[in-house]
Structure formats: structure tokens, C-alpha cells
């Protein structure tokens, strides 16, 4: 297992070096390798699937431009996901400014799924939208994507302890927001 990890790290390193030398195909391989995880990081921070797509594209573009400054001996994933997190936070801030200008009293809602009838999903969306972006990111990255507190801290540029306490507060806030909700049973 560790041999496989080491070989994939070595392969990634050679792709990074080739991409730094201007090899477009090597960069495309890095995109292919990391885009799913990058999407998950962005999706944890922004509110909609469409924004996550935009953030992923912005993030890869930033990464491409900054590739010359990356040291190939560092873990590429951690560096890339930090860029993704920053791109997502930028997008959230831009959206906030726009929403504040356009709809001052409404809560930004995630994209509408036409087939959605599940009340829990709707309530969850609303509750998650009410959390701060950092708390939402921490709870999704930890509980859904399985990142560690340390990885989340590195991504969001906060101490590990802050990530830990953000997670605690996010869970408490979600519990409070959903406390009156009981999922409908099959009998209802």
C-alpha cells in the first residue's frame, strides 16, 4: 500500500515537473487526477453545484499560473486544495456582495433540484446555508469528505484547533437548526 502511495507520489511529482516545464498534457493529467477531490473541496465551501464548478475552474487556473512557484517535493494535493479553498471563498465573498446588492433579505439557496421532494434535504440546505462559510466548509470536509482537522486547517489557513472548534460549533448549530424536525416515516 505504501509502495503504491510512494509510486503515485513519484508519478505526480514527475507530472508536476513536466507541467512546470510547459507540458500541457502533464497539467491535464494533474487535472484528471485531482478534479473530483477539488470539486469536493469547493462544493463544501460554496452553496451550489454551479458555483463549485466555477470555483474548480478558477482554482485550476490559479494553480496553473502559480505552478512555477510550487516546490515539487511538497505534496501537490495539499497545495492545490488550498488554492481551491481560496478560490471558493473568493467566489462566496463575491456572491455575498452581489446578493447584498440585489436581495438584501433573502438567504442564498442552493440550486433547485426539480425532482426534490425530500423535506430533510430542503431543511438541511436551509440550515447549512445559515452556517458561516467556514463552519459549513469544516463540517462538510470533515464529516462528508473525510479530511482530517489538520488537512482542513491547512486548506482554510486556520490552526488545527480552530478547525476542531469550528466543527464542534457547526454541529451544535446544525442540531439547533434541525431540532424541531423529525424525518417523515413511511406511515405518514
Amino acid at each position: 500500500m505504501s509502495d503504491r502511495n510512494a509510486s503515485s507520489r513519484a508519478e505526480e511529482r514527475s507530472l508536476v515537473i513536466a507541467a512546470q516545464a510547459g507540458n500541457g498534457e502533464a497539467f491535464a493529467s494533474l487535472v484528471r487526477l485531482h478534479q473530483r477531490r477539488a470539486y469536493a473541496v469547493c462544493r463544501a465551501i460554496v452553496l451550489t453545484h454551479e458555483d463549485a464548478e466555477d470555483a474548480v475552474q478558477d482554482g485550476f487556473l490559479h494553480a496553473y499560473k502559480a505552478l512555477g512557484r510550487f516546490l515539487p517535493d511538497q505534496p501537490f494535493g495539499a497545495w492545490l486544495f488550498r488554492i481551491m479553498a481560496n478560490a471558493s471563498l473568493d467566489l462566496v465573498r463575491r456572491r455575498k456582495v452581489r446578493d447584498a446588492d440585489e436581495l438584501p433579505e433573502t438567504i442564498a439557496m442552493p440550486f433547485r433540484d426539480p425532482g426534490e421532494a425530500d423535506e430533510l434535504r430542503t431543511r438541511l440546505k436551509q440550515a447549512l446555508a445559515k452556517l458561516g462559510e467556514r463552519q459549513r466548509a469544516v463540517i462538510v470536509l470533515h464529516d462528508i469528505e473525510g479530511f482530517t482537522h489538520g488537512e482542513i486547517g491547512s486548506m482554510l489557513e486556520i490552526p488545527e484547533g480552530t478547525a476542531r472548534s469550528d466543527l464542534h460549533h457547526a454541529r451544535a448549530a446544525l442540531r439547533k437548526l434541525l431540532q424541531d424536525f423529525r424525518p417523515p416515516t413511511d406511515d405518514e
Binding site: R36, R121, L174, L178
Partner: protein
């Protein structure tokens, strides 16, 4: 993994997984990759890429030129000062005041002609 056990089961976590699930079809990821690479290609084709490539060497050259010009100016100023000092302290080779050569005026006009006549006698 999650402590969000709100309803006695992992309902919330499952709900969140559903909300945050990434698209699963390979076609979606191929398409996203194409979009990302298209944006990267836009950056590569831009004039600023060429500009960016030349920016660093140009800055280094400009910095070197400024330093060289500064050194040259400093040296010129210093040699000028030295020359001025040498002039100031150099011994003067004058034995007396400089002689001013004056031309003897030639006598002209009717008065001068009269004077010339008297002197010739």
C-alpha cells in the same frame, strides 16, 4: 465518521452526502477537464504570457543597467572632484602678474597728422 446523529440514525449525514454528492458520470468529468484546459489554453495564448516570460529577464537587465549607470555617475563625479582638488592645491608657476600686451595706437586723423609733422622736425 460523523457525530451528527440527530435522529437516532445517520439520517443527517446521509442527507448531507446526498446534497454534496459529486456528479458520478465519467462524461461529466471529461467535460469539466475540457473546460478547465480550454481556460488554461486561453491564458497560454494571451499576449501577457509572452510578456510574463520576458518580464523577469527584463527587470534583471533594467536593474543591472541602473546599477551600472549609478556606478559610472559616481566614478565621473569622483574624478571631477579629484581634478578640482588638484587644481586648487597645485602650485602656480607665476613669477609676477601676467603681462598685458598693449598695442601702440597708430596716429590717424588731421590732429594726428599735425602732431606727426611737429615730431618729424
Amino acid at each position: 465518521m460523523s457525530d451528527l446523529n440527530l435522529f437516532g440514525d445517520d439520517e443527517t449525514t446521509r442527507g448531507m452526502r446526498g446534497l454534496y454528492a459529486a456528479p458520478s458520470g465519467q462524461a461529466y468529468w471529461n467535460e469539466l477537464e475540457s473546460r478547465i484546459m480550454a481556460r488554461v489554453a486561453e491564458v497560454e495564448l494571451g499576449w501577457w504570457t509572452e510578456f510574463d516570460r520576458w518580464l523577469k529577464p527584463a527587470l534583471f537587465t533594467a536593474a543591472a543597467l541602473v546599477i551600472m549607470a549609478g556606478v559610472a555617475m559616481f566614478r565621473t563625479g569622483q574624478s571631477r572632484n579629484n581634478a578640482d582638488l588638484e587644481d586648487l592645491f597645485a602650485p602656480t608657476s607665476v613669477a609676477g602678474a601676467p603681462v598685458e600686451a598693449t598695442a601702440r595706437p597708430t596716429l590717424q586723423g588731421p590732429r594726428d597728422a599735425a602732431l606727426r609733422f611737429i615730431l618729424s622736425r
